[in-house]
């Protein structure tokens, strides 16, 4: 059994490397902060801090998979957040129409990027660099005069700061959160068993029963621990729930639908995809449109978390999202990269920031360390990729 474990680790070192790194980072910070890092409050905070980058990283993964880049998402989200603030505060729009409108604006911006890149043929770097400048200016224009726009809408601010209600109203523990965690564990176990059975039906290689059980147990415990921790604080936050839903939807699109298959095909070999009857232009349009939607979502999360729209909102978000995607193992040469891994990548970067803040590392050193981790992650990825092939 120990040997099997060793060969599995060796074979999938690339896949598991990031998780091991994450565990390592968490362990170090837990020791350095005397357990403060893993405290219920901090874990809950950590997830809320990473939300607006995580959703960007999801969209960015697909953008990089089709061999492009989107630099406009940072100030794009800042600008869209400002629009939301203006709609609510100056024009007294209720929350639901506001959200719908900014989603539509986000999609329109994304589609425009996609149109310039695919149908006109401008390199994505240039097109979205232009977008970045334009949105930066637009953000300054919209916050001109008033400066920071304070948002006085509790429901909206709740998206970035609030927690899901507990239908059981228990004083000590958030039972709804626990229930959701329990359902996720059940769904996970069920889908793992089904996929294993299926593989065995076709006589593909599967893990031995012992290792398989061990793996399921380990992951169930981790999920259980996360939800238990959240439940013992304020419960699951809206941000956390939104990130979970986005990750789930994109994971399903990427792995289970023809659309996802086409996206990865275009990234893997555009020429072959074209000859196979896949429209590269349409796929590009879709991927940038989806990036636009997630940019709007990120803008909403950020604006609501800080309960205001500021002239500098969104600064460098695009680079944080790109870094998260690369830490998560996407390949710049296209066709390779998992949405879920990018979320974990975002978690790695967010843990670093959070942990370093807790132990009081200065902001200048924080940037240096984050840069070093990014390089290390990509080096590791390249080295293990060569070994696999």
């Amino acid at each position: 059994m120990f040997n099997e474990l060793k060969t599995i680790l060796k074979k999938n070192i690339r896949e598991y490397g990031m998780y091991i790194a994450l565990a390592f980072i968490m362990l170090i910070f837990t020791i350095l902060t005397d357990g403060l890092f893993l405290s219920a409050r901090n874990i809950s905070n950590l997830f809320n801090q990473m939300g607006y980058i995580a959703v960007l990283a999801v969209g960015m993964t697909l953008v990089i998979v089709i061999r492009h880049i989107d630099l406009s998402v940072g100030f794009g989200s800042g600008f869209i957040g400002a629009i939301a603030a203006i709609l609510m505060m100056r024009f007294n729009f209720p929350i639901i129409p506001t959200i719908l409108i900014v989603f539509i604006i986000g999609i329109a911006i994304g589609l425009m990027n996609g149109f310039f890149i695919s149908y006109i043929g401008i390199p994505a770097f240039v097109a979205t660099l232009a977008g970045m400048m334009i949105f930066r200016g637009a953000l300054l224009v919209s916050t001109e005069g008033t400066g920071t726009i304070i948002i006085l809408n509790d429901k909206f601010n709740g998206i970035g700061n609030g927690y899901i209600p507990d239908i059981f109203k228990n004083e000590n523990i958030h039972i709804t959160t626990l229930l959701i965690g329990f359902v996720i564990i059940l769904l996970y176990i069920f889908s793992e068993i089904r996929s294993r059975k299926n593989k065995m039906k076709y006589q593909f290689d599967v893990l031995s029963v012992k290792i398989f059980t061990l793996k399921m147990l380990l992951i169930s415990v981790i999920i259980g621990y996360v939800f238990w921790t959240l439940a013992s604080y304020n419960g699951m936050s809206w941000t956390f729930l939104i990130v979970l839903i986005v990750a789930f939807i994109y994971h399903i699109i990427a792995t289970k639908t023809p659309l996802g298959r086409h996206i990865y095909a275009v990234g893997g070999n555009p020429e072959a995809a074209k000859l196979s009857g896949i429209s590269i232009n349409k796929i590009t349009l879709f991927v940038f449109g989806s990036m636009g939607l997630l940019t709007a979502l990120s803008g909403i999360l950020y604006t609501s978390r800080f309960q205001s729209a500021t002239p500098t909102a969104g600064t460098l978000f695009e680079l944080d999202a790109i870094a998260a995607a690369y830490v998560g193992g996407v390949s710049a040469s296209g066709g390779v990269g998992k949405v879920t891994n990018s979320i974990v990548g975002a978690l790695v970067m967010a843990s670093l920031i959070n942990g370093m803040n807790l132990i009081g590392v200065g902001i200048s050193y924080q940037y240096i360390i984050r840069g070093a981790v990014l390089v290390a992650a990509v080096v590791f990825d390249i080295k293990t990729r060569n070994k696999a092939s």
């Binding site: 023809p258 095909a265 893997g268 072959a272 000859l275 196979s276 390779v336």
Partner: protein
């Protein structure tokens, strides 16, 4: 005692799980042309990579003696310094640089710290003259034909003071006259004292130039023989370990029906290069027929195929196209595929397969909707479909989850075929279906083609190999300079007739 310039002794090279070379002994005499042949995956390229230092010393077992001295190459640079130069199948020239810059790329002539351009230009002219060429060496590589590019590669090798020249499939991308030219140059080099190792699949060409032939099979050197009165059949026997009676299998029944596809006055203009690539072509094919399209490289055969197949290169089209008697205008490949067409590309790696995808995702990608229920891909169905093709086409792999990049050329071609058979076409266009694949896999592909036409499919086969065109086609069109310069029935066609039409402008 013979005078060996190169002795490779007991070379063994293992990859994870496979023995690519098993105790190979390979000796080359000074001044000869030594041909190395074998099926794909037999270890030819691996052996040459061991020799050139691509696999550094210590990475393999065995010894290499060059001019009697033991060599331990760590890099390709080491072997080139010793005088061993390899010219790879994929040309390694920089398209935006001039001829003279390319010839001395990596070993520039310097005076002091700077490049001596005048000397570079005059030296590159001299090297080309040695090969019998006088040309303006300031031209960019991208403006030259493949045939001339190959010559530039050889000139580059000569400029490095080559003693042993290794050519890996040098003629695979060349047409007949360019190939002949190149072979003559290799013979000429022999007179200048350069020893050559030639890797090739084309037996005719091997027999016409070789002094000695070594056959590799499954990583072993099975036979080395002098080239006197050797027959093709004999070599094939060593290559495959069995005798192939007739490489072009006979069809059990001829069942040719109605016309299913036709083009009239068909012209295509390539906007990107500003050239008329197809000129008022007339062409038709019947149900259950194999129609061959012969012609030299650049005659417009692939362009014709792509212009009919939904026009992915966005040519300016003129003329009429009929499918099943109805006039059609395919604006996208999707429309052509939906109408019942399929196009198996000549360039498997470039635009045929997605190399990072596994076998099953490659097979289903062109018809993914067929196995989609609601919005989800039915993964069970996908596995069943691909397993079926893996078995029926005998795709050699450890599972359908193996990535395409790790397959041999012949198996990649089979995956490419499976992908297009899965769209259930009525008209299948095969562009150079057997390029770069070995005799055994060729035979399997021919057999498959026969089975398909017997089932009522129509096949257009574009090929540069005349024996293949003659062996397989019911009818043959010959293209030249974008025009269809002639049509022949399979029975009346001969190599001479086709070549006459192919060079007729």
């Amino acid at each position: 005692m013979s005078d060996f310039i190169l002795e490779m002794k007991n070379i063994t090279k293992e990859f994870p799980g496979v023995k690519a070379l098993d105790n190979v002994n390979f000796n080359v005499e000074r001044g000869e042309i030594h041909c190395l042949i074998g099926e794909n995956g037999s270890g030819k390229s691996t052996l040459m990579k061991v020799l050139s230092g691509f696999f550094p010393h210590g990475n393999y077992k065995g010894n290499i003696l060059f001019e009697g001295k033991e060599q331990k190459f760590k890099t390709i640079y080491d072997s080139e310094k010793t005088g061993i130069v390899t010219i790879y199948q994929e040309l390694a020239l920089s398209p935006e640089l001039s001829i003279y810059e390319n010839i001395f790329l990596g070993h520039e002539i310097k005076s002091g710290a700077f490049i001596d351009w005048n000397k570079t230009i005059s030296e590159s002219g001299k090297v080309l003259k040695k090969l019998g060429y006088t040309m303006d060496t300031s031209k960019k590589i991208k403006d030259l034909g493949v045939g001339i590019q190959q010559i530039i590669e050889i000139a580059k090798a000569l400029s490095k003071n080559v003693k042993l020249l290794i050519l890996d499939e040098p003629t695979s991308a060349l047409n007949e006259s360019d190939s002949e030219n190149l072979l003559n140059i290799i013979k000429e080099l022999k007179n200048h004292g350069v020893t050559s190792i030639l890797i090739s699949h084309k037996l005719k060409e091997v027999l016409s130039v070789a002094d000695t032939i070594t056959v590799l099979r499954d990583g072993e050197a099975v036979k080395t023989l002098k080239n006197d009165n050797v027959s093709e059949k004999e070599i094939i026997k060593y290559m495959v370990g069995r005798e192939i009676e007739d490489i072009y299998p006979k069809r059990s029944s001829e069942n040719i029906g109605e016309k299913i596809f036709e083009i009239k006055n068909w012209s295509a203009y390539d906007r990107q290069i500003g050239k008329q690539v197809v000129k008022s072509a007339q062409f038709n094919i019947k149900k259950g027929e194999i129609v061959g399209i012969a012609g030299l490289i650049g005659a417009g055969r692939t362009e014709l195929a792509l212009s009919m197949f939904g026009n992915p290169k966005n040519y300016l089209l003129k003329g009429e196209l009929f499918f099943n008697g109805n006039s059609k205008k395919f604006k996208t490949t999707t429309e052509a595929i939906n109408a019942g067409m399929a196009y198996v590309s000549e360039d498997r790696k470039g635009n045929g397969l997605i190399l990072d995808f596994d076998i099953k995702t490659n097979i289903t990608i062109a018809n993914i909707m067929k196995i989609t229920k609601g919005i989800f891909i039915n993964e069970n169905e996908e596995i069943i479909v691909s397993e079926n093709y893996r078995e029926s086409l005998r795709i050699k792999s450890h599972s359908i989850e193996q990535k395409a990049v790790n397959l041999s050329g012949g198996n990649q071609q089979k995956v490419s075929l499976a992908k297009w058979l899965f769209v259930k076409p009525k008209l299948l266009i095969l562009d150079e279906p057997t390029r770069g694949i070995d005799v055994g896999a060729k035979f399997e592909i021919y057999t498959l083609m026969n089975r398909l036409v017997e089932e009522g499919l129509s096949i257009i086969m574009i090929s540069s190999e005349l024996p293949e065109i003659l062996g397989m086609s019911d009818r043959i069109y010959v293209m030249s300079g974008g025009k269809i310069s002639g049509e022949l029935t399979g029975k009346e066609a001969t190599q001479e007739k086709i070549m006459t039409m192919a060079v007729d402008y």
